[in-house]
Amino acid sequence: MEIVRLLTSDDSWDKFEKEWANQCEEVGDAFDSYGAGPVSVTRQLAQNGSQTEWAIALFDAKNNRSVACACAILATQKGYTGKVLRIREVIVCPLLDYGSLPETEYVDTLIGLLNGAVKLSESSLKAKHIKLHLRSPSDAIFFRAVGKSLDSQGVFAATESHGAWLSFTKQSSAPLRAV
């Protein structure tokens, strides 16, 4: 799986929207109301073409399917040395949401998203810190457990939870130990 940028200035957003509209039709939902808030915010980023605020999709090339979309925002933030890449408004595709795909794809999608954020922070949106917005109490419980597990493996310099955000700080020069 890989993160791809979505833009209205090329046909990437249109393709994405059509794909998810078809998926909605398949599961009996309407794309206009599917994940309305997050999709609307993501669409705005697809329209503005900013260098630092991207609309992104997690694309599963094997199945030729966009399995999630989100906003990826590169910024500086008080209290952080170096750039921060914020991942917000994550929504999975209708087929996943409606349980039309195997449960293993839930896990693979989440892993793909986190791995994709790391890759993005090493390429087009270079950042030392990655922050994931926790939009609900369920998010907070689940991702804090993920963070705790990651912290125990020592691959990040720090994994911390601040309010509604989970942040990962990458190692700068210290070698990573095998996990």
């Binding site: 929504i91 999975v92 896990v107 090493e122 369920s138 597990s149 990651l150 990573l176």
Partner: protein, 49 residues
Amino acid sequence: MSTIEQELIFEAIRNAVEATVLELGIDALRSLSMFPSSTISEIEIPIAA
């Protein structure tokens, strides 16, 4: 970051997610806000932090 370092992070992320799913169950993953149909009634945490 080298390719090897990235691979170690990817492996750690996979381990962490799989361990969390084992610990909390697949329903805990399914109840995340990224699944729109399962979180409609949830109260969202304010974004400022």
